[in-house]
Each structure stands twice: as C-alpha cells, then as structure tokens.
Symmetry: C2
Subunit: 416 residues, 2 copies
Amino acid sequence: MTDRPDWLGQAAAAARDAARSLAGSAAEARNHALHAAAASLRDRSADILAANERDLSASTATAAFRDRLTLTPDRVASMARGLDEIADLPDPLGRTLAEWTRPNGLRFRRVATPVGVIGMIYESRPNVGADAAGLCLKSGNAVLLRGGSDSLNSARAIHRSMVDGLQAAGLPDACVQMPPDADRAHVAAMLGASGRIDLLIPRGGRSLVERVQREARVPVLAHAEGLCHTYVHRSADPDMARALVANAKMRRTGICGATETLLIDAEIAPALLPLIVSDLAALGCAFRADASARAILPSLAPAGAGDFDTEWLDGVLSIAVVEDCDAALAHIARHGSAHTEAIVAEDEAAAMRFLSGTDSAVVMWNASTQFCDGGEFGFGAEIGIATGRVHARGPVGLEQLTSFRYEVIGTGQIRA
Amino acid sequence: MTDRPDWLGQAAAAARDAARSLAGSAAEARNHALHAAAASLRDRSADILAANERDLSASTATAAFRDRLTLTPDRVASMARGLDEIADLPDPLGRTLAEWTRPNGLRFRRVATPVGVIGMIYESRPNVGADAAGLCLKSGNAVLLRGGSDSLNSARAIHRSMVDGLQAAGLPDACVQMPPDADRAHVAAMLGASGRIDLLIPRGGRSLVERVQREARVPVLAHAEGLCHTYVHRSADPDMARALVANAKMRRTGICGATETLLIDAEIAPALLPLIVSDLAALGCAFRADASARAILPSLAPAGAGDFDTEWLDGVLSIAVVEDCDAALAHIARHGSAHTEAIVAEDEAAAMRFLSGTDSAVVMWNASTQFCDGGEFGFGAEIGIATGRVHARGPVGLEQLTSFRYEVIGTGQIRA
C-alpha cells in the first residue's frame, strides 16, 4: 500500500521528461509510433482478446457494462485503424497561430505546442485508452491512462502495443503510462496532481465526470452532461423542422449531442407539434410535455418536476411551448448544460438572436444537434466534448489538445 | 456567521445573470460604463482617499505593505485613466476566430465570447480592483472582487464608482460585486465555487497564488513565480549581450519578467562574463555564481543550495556557466518556472533550438525578458501573467479573458 502514491509521483516525473522529448520530436517520429502501435495491436490481437476474456470472467457487472468492456477481433481492428487515421491527420504542433510586429521592431509569434502531461481517467471501455493515447501522442503530450478497474488486463495488453509503437519510433516508453494495479488511490492521486498533470480528461458516466470536476485540483476538460435543446421558431420551415427534430432526437439517443428537449413557439405549435410528435412516435419516442403542449395533444404524458433538467439519453423527449425566442433562451439558461442548442428558423434576425443568446459551446441554426462531434466538425478525431468555459469547448480534437508559446524575436531591444 | 457562505452563492447567481446581460450588451454600453466609472472615480476622489485613510489607520502592517495599500490623488487619477484607456481598446467580443465549411454544406464559425463569471482574489493594492473590474467588464465578464482584508474600505469606495458606471450605462450592478466584509471564508468559498465561478485570477504574493493553485476547484489563471533565464550563447554579439543582461536584470528587479539567472557558454565566459558582471555591479547588483563562474571571477559569492531555484525579485543574479544550448535548456527544465526565457545569439540554428526547447510561456531571442508585459506585447492592458498550460499563457489581456462558441449554420442538414 505504501508505494501507491509513489506511482503517480514517479510516473508524472517520467511523463514530464517524456513530454519534453515528444515536444521536440518530428511529426514523422510520432506518426511512425502510431502506425507501429497499430501494427502491434493487430499482431497481438489474440493476446489482447485473451486478456479481455480474463477481465470479462472476473467481472460481475451488468450486461450493458459487459458490452462496453468486451473486445472482439473487429473492435481491436477498429482501434488499430483509429491509430492509423490519427497518424494521417495534419501535425497540430508548430502551427503559427498569430504573428505581429511592434513599433520597436520586436516580432511576436504565437506557436502551437503540446499541453504537456495529460491524465485520462475513463471507465471500462478499453478502446478509449488506445484512442486517447493516440490523440495525445500525435499532439505531443505524454499521457497517464487510468481505465476502469474491471478492464485492467485489457488495458495492460493495449498499453503494451502502445509501448511497442513508441519503441519502434525511438520515443520514450514513458510517453504512455498506466498504473500498476487497479487501486482507486491512483485516481485520487491524479486529481490532486497540481503542477504534475497539466490537464485531466475524464470520460465515462456522469458520476465519474462530476467527481473529477468537483475534486480535481488540475484543469479539467469534460462534459458532465449534454442536455441539448432544439427550438422551433415560428418562422421555421415545417418540413425542415420535422426532419431536424426527428434526427436530433432519434438518430442515436445515447450520445451527448442528442436533443433532450423540444421548445416550440406557441404560434405554430397547434399545427406543427402534432406532426413532429407523430414522426417521433413512429420512431418509438415517448414524451414529457408541459401544460401548453398537452392543451394541444392531451394524450402526451405530463412533464414532472425535474423532467426539463433530465438528460434522457434514451427515446424520450421533453416538450415545452414557449412564447418567443427570448422565452426559449430563458428556458435554456435555466435548464441547459451549455453543450449544444439548435434553432430551426427562416427568420435570420431570430436565428442571430438565438446564436448569440446562449452560453453554450455549440449553437446551430437549421442543423441537427447530432452534428456536435469532432468528425462532423472536420477535426478528424476527438477525445471528447468539453462544456467548460476555458481552453477548449465543444469537440476536443488534436488542435484542442495543444497549448502555445509566444516567441519574441528582437535585434537587441532593451525595455525603456 | 451563518450567512457567510450565502454571499458567494447569491453573488455568483446574480453574477451569472449579469454575465448573460453583459454577453449580449453592445460594446458602446460597456465602454460607456467604463468612462462613467472613470468619471465617478474622479468625482469621488476625496471619498476614496478618506476611505483609504481609514484602512491605513487601522493597519499595523509593514512599510512596504502600507505603500501598496496607500492611495494618493495621483493614484486615483491613474486608476480613472486606466479605465478610460480600456474603454478605448477594440472590443474583444464577437471576433470570428476561425471559419470553415464542411462538404455537406454546414458552415462553422468560432466566435469570441466572454468567459462568464471571473473571481479575482488579490492583496491590498486597491487599484488592482479597478483594473480587474475594467478588464472584465470590457471583455463581457461579470467579476467577483475579493481584495485584501486591510483594504476593505478602499475597495468599497472604488466599487461604488464601478457601480456608478454600470448604472450610467444601464448594465446590472451585479456585473461587479465584492463581499460585504473581510471574512476569509469568502476566499475559501470562491476557491470551491466549481460551476459558479468560471475562472479564478489570483494576484499578489507567491503564497496567495500558490494557495489558490493548490486549493481551487475552479480553473485558475496565474503565475506563482517568474524565475526567468537569459542565456548567452557563444555566438552572441558581446555588446548586445551586455546591454540585454543589464536591462533584463536591473531595469526593474521586482517584476516577474526580470531575469534571475544568467547562463553563459563556457567558450565565451572567460572574456565576456567579467564585462557583464562589471556592468551589473555598477548598477548595484550582487551575484551567486557556480564553480565554473567563480573559476573566472573568484570574487563572486558562491551559489548555495537552492539559489538557482530562487526568484530574487531583487538586485541579485545567479550565474551558471554551461557547455552549450542543450545544457542551458536542461538547466531551465530543472530550475525554471515556465515564465520567460531569452537567448542572446547570432547563430540562428541555436536560437531556433532554444525557442522550441523550453515549455515556457514566452521565449525570446535577442530581447530583454523585461518585455514580458501585456503593454509591450501590444495587448493594451493586462490583468496578469499566466504560466499554466491551458487557455491563456503569458500576458493576460482582453482577448485572453474571452472564450468562444462554435456557430454551425445549416440549411436543414441531418446527420446520417
């Protein structure tokens, strides 16, 4: 027990050194490590599946949990493909983000750099470890991976392939590290590692993320929930509104960008709401409606206390009828989670008012909230979605895993 | 005592509402509030000085502390002028930071927004409250100001002028708030206000900043120390090196961008170090030198354990002789604070190696480290310097007090 806190101390120090090597590494070396790690995942597929089988045998968890924990040959192949794809993305480091010259001749450049040491805390989906390691490595960050305790054998087997990749490229093993055991004390140590871990990224259920946000003394990139709204303005094209709401709610109900609440203007609700509800009901959706919506469709189940604050992540839609755009914005300010909101409208002034009227990370006009995704944004890959207000917000891809430095180039200027 | 925690709860909720108003306000309204607050500071100058006199009478602190606490007619005028200057800077909000279109026709815009609610924790320099309130207001952020307990009367008098400005512009009073008393429990409440305060900015001595960094459960922008290095490469122009080191160390010794350690290549040290030391000695500087430097100049005081880890903030310079650029970078990695480092060199390859070889927020080539300052960067004003690795680094001006949102504009796209 006594050397538990030491894991973090030693690992973080080694990660800091490794991060310095990575920051100075050529993009080719990082890409080579990613391709080699992908090859190793393929080569070691049988070992990885056997390790995963040991985790599954030991686990007494629910079926849904076991499904997330389960690896198959396809899932291993998909992890490997993910690393290859990350390798093929443009290098996020060294980009000139801004450049200017001052009257005294000093030239300033803001240049993209790695963040440094990233701590990834995730639950029992083993592929998250490979994805996160790949994104961190590509962006020049060392990473400490702490996966769920039920997935320790799987995580170790995957980690071995990441180390194979690093070694093939001549990069330090310590670029990607994991704890030696499943002790929960490692999580607490990571949360308190101010100055040693530069950024924590929790990924998993809401209770995990909320714990990290509450207890961490290190900056956190995360979203605890995605309580997304689609607002149908009175000027909406009715057919577009029907198609967007159906997609935003029902394309996939379990992702954080799924719409959880429909807001609709009172003026158009009597004609349009029944059509929207009928579309969704045909797709298997259930409803929780406020009094005004039930005045139009009395068969809808009434929304209870807290329903408008609930991220359903399921085939359930909360419905509120609002007077206008300001009322919709007030509803979102009260109940939203600053993730993604959409307005359906033909009236540009209303759309502009909506776009600038929330403090959400992503706001959409005439598009499905399900587009809140790094791939759909064109980021190539994402490590998660952030709803905080500093550093990265929305999908977190490679560029969002970078920091920057200012380079100041003079000819001997001294300050007066 | 029981309603102490309530101050933060109520203030933060009111600040959140005020921040929403500010985010939607016109630049003209924010600028009007700043000019009106400046006018109020001038009008109420006598009241402010009387309040400050009450603080000074009650204080039993040291002379240096009393000097920081003391307001004079000039200092009040300077605060007012600072607000007028902030008003005249460009609006940092609404800037389009990036823009692209995806193959499916979705248009993406990244737009600058306020961060939200900022918590400012500072010591007993009352003008910091006015500066911080001005920068936050201009950048659309609500701010909770918690100044040192010895400055409560001064802070209240200044706060009244800020509220005068807000009222003149029709903005909510709650944009700028302060606690009702000097209870230290308010600081603890601010440090724990995850989700209610979006960003904490501590400003003051190292112990204050380190406490905030250690205990806060809210993102922090700060620097705990500025242990800046100037490295003289063997290719340096000797006259430039002498002028830069003298300025970097002695122009002002108490600022965080002052050089604390000189690193000099062994090849040139015998000829150049005596000249640099002689220049500095003439300006009143003392020295702490390693064995190699003392082999050249035996009269220099030897560097003790910890001297290379000491931010002198005074007329003292640590000196180490290094073999080459890599040795200089290794010294900085071991002893530096990731603030500002400079190389003096004519050799471009060495300079490029140095610029990309630290993880400091600011790296300079042939310029004085004393240029690490928001004004010198062209930011117009700064609320402080950050050495963290996420969000803002280096001087924190108006742009660094902003966040962003993604606006996604479609024509009815649904996700496949």
